[in-house]
């Protein structure tokens, strides 16, 4: 049997005519329905619900995580605020304490200065009093001495004859010199 190209072409054309691609074969419809029925059944009953459940679960998990994170953040913010408030309070407290200390120090200084001043006054007063007392003592002692000297002088004057003015003058001078020497020796 010889098969020419023309024969092949004719055969092909004839075959194409018997199979219009736009008209379905009944057996092809049958073999469409069975796979589609199986696919739709399995997808509707099992695959889509299962994947849907997993997706929903994940969405819930993520949402839960987000809300948890938000809560944690809110808590952290509250804690920060609290700490800041406490810090501010502590700072104010420290400033107040410092201010008090400074005031107290000032007070102490003033008091000390006053006390020192009083002490100095007291010392000066005491010194003055001592000086006065010593002066009084000196006066009393001097007065005693002067009496003794006067008596001595009088006795000398009486014991010695005062012949002339020159001698008289000499006696007075020697008395005064003696007196002066006495005073110097005492001082």
């Amino acid at each position: 049997m010889i098969v020419t190209p023309q024969a092949i072409a004719i055969l092909a054309a004839a075959e194409e005519e018997t199979h219009n691609p736009l008209i379905p074969e009944p057996f092809e419809i049958f073999w469409s329905l069975i796979p589609l029925a199986v696919v739709f059944f399995v997808f509707f009953r099992y695959i889509m619900p299962k994947l849907g459940t997993v997706l929903d679960e994940r969405a819930a998990l993520i949402e839960g995580g987000i809300s948890k994170a938000e809560k944690a953040q809110a808590e952290a913010a509250a804690a920060l605020e609290e700490y800041t408030a406490q810090l501010t309070e502590a700072r104010a407290e420290a400033a107040r304490i410092r201010e008090d200390a400074r005031a107290e120090a000032q007070q102490i200084l003033v008091e000390t200065r006053d006390k020192a001043s009083h002490e100095a006054d007291r010392i000066v007063a005491t010194a003055n009093k001592q000086i006065e007392a010593e002066r009084q003592q000196a006066i009393v002692s001097l007065r005693g001495d002067v009496g003794v000297l006067a008596t001595e002088l009088a006795s000398k004057i009486v014991g010695e004859s005062l012949a002339d003015d020159a001698r008289q003058q000499r006696v007075i001078d020697s008395f005064l010199d003696e007196l002066e020497a006495n005073v110097k020796a005492e001082g």
């Binding site: 190209p5 057996f27 092809e28 469409s32 997808f43 994947l51 679960e57 994940r58 998990l61």
Partner: protein, 265 residues
């Protein structure tokens, strides 16, 4: 494709639409006739169920890599397609349907680029028609449950604000849209995309085979490089189209449902 086929010499096997109609493996002529394309579809079904089943079974609150990818697709579809079009409240009722539809269509499409399978079973109109009919039934029942039977047709066919003269025309167009055009275009768009994708991809394979093996000559080997790189380009494109068409199908389904349940359109 006939043009390529007639121009080719003996060794060239041009891909054709008959790739989608192979001989029966069993049950020839019965309602359960089974062939290679349907075997690919069954394999895709099992693979989808096994992969998604494993992901769902091992699904944890802290996801692994595979679970993350599936969840990313799932979340994207739910947020951007289902809730994006229908709103969250209404969308919740349809998210299972639309997301399952997406994964199913993608699984049936992607076999077109998998070596050894090399065919997208959505290239057969039957399965896309069944899916389109499911969407059709869903948006009709949703609209009727929302507005009542009469109310639904009234809202759909007689939009407020239209001039009296054009009302019959609008009603006719909308009726055709609802009962025929929307489901038909859903099914046709997907099937035709997959057929054309297969023909283009298979062409790069068979042309490369032809240029490099069957009719190897200096110039043909050079042409073969073009078609060889075409394989990579078309494979990448088909992977993209597999995702895109599944996405478009689901997006339009959501839009149609939204039109049925919205107050006025």
């Amino acid at each position: 494709m006939n043009l390529v086929a007639t121009e080719s010499s003996d060794g060239f096997h041009a891909p054709s639409i008959s790739d989608f109609y192979p001989d029966a493996l069993f049950g020839d002529g019965t309602f359960y006739e089974f062939n290679r394309i349907l075997l690919v579809r069954v394999i895709a079904t099992i693979a989808l169920l096994v992969i998604m089943g494993l992901v769902a079974k091992r699904a944890k609150v802290v996801p692994g890599r595979g679970q993350s990818i599936v969840e990313m697709i799932l979340e994207y579809l739910r947020e951007n397609v289902v809730y994006g079009v229908l709103g969250e409240a209404v969308g919740k009722k349809y998210d299972k349907l639309l997301i399952t539809t997406f994964f199913t269509i993608f699984a049936f499409n992607i076999t077109g680029t998998i070596p050894g399978l090399n065919i997208a079973s959505t290239g057969l109109i039957g399965v896309t028609l069944v899916l389109a009919v499911i969407v059709w039934v869903v948006y009709l029942t949703s609209g009727i449950m929302k507005h009542g039977f009469v109310g639904y047709w009234k809202v759909s066919l007689f939009p407020s604000g239209a001039a009296l003269a054009v009302k019959p025309l609008i009603a006719l167009v909308d009726l055709l849209q609802i009962v025929l055009i929307r489901p038909a275009t859903l099914a046709l768009r997907l099937t035709i995309n997959m057929i054309v994708g297969h023909l283009l991809l298979a062409l790069t394979y068979s042309a490369t085979q032809y240029f490099w093996v069957e009719a190897a000559s200096n110039w043909n080997i050079l042409y073969g490089f073009i078609t060889f790189f075409g394989i990579f380009f078309m494979t990448a494109l088909e992977i993209f189209v597999a995702v895109l068409q599944a996405f478009i199908f689901v997006m339009l389904s959501a839009v149609y449902i939204n039109m049925a349940v919205s107050e006025d359109h």
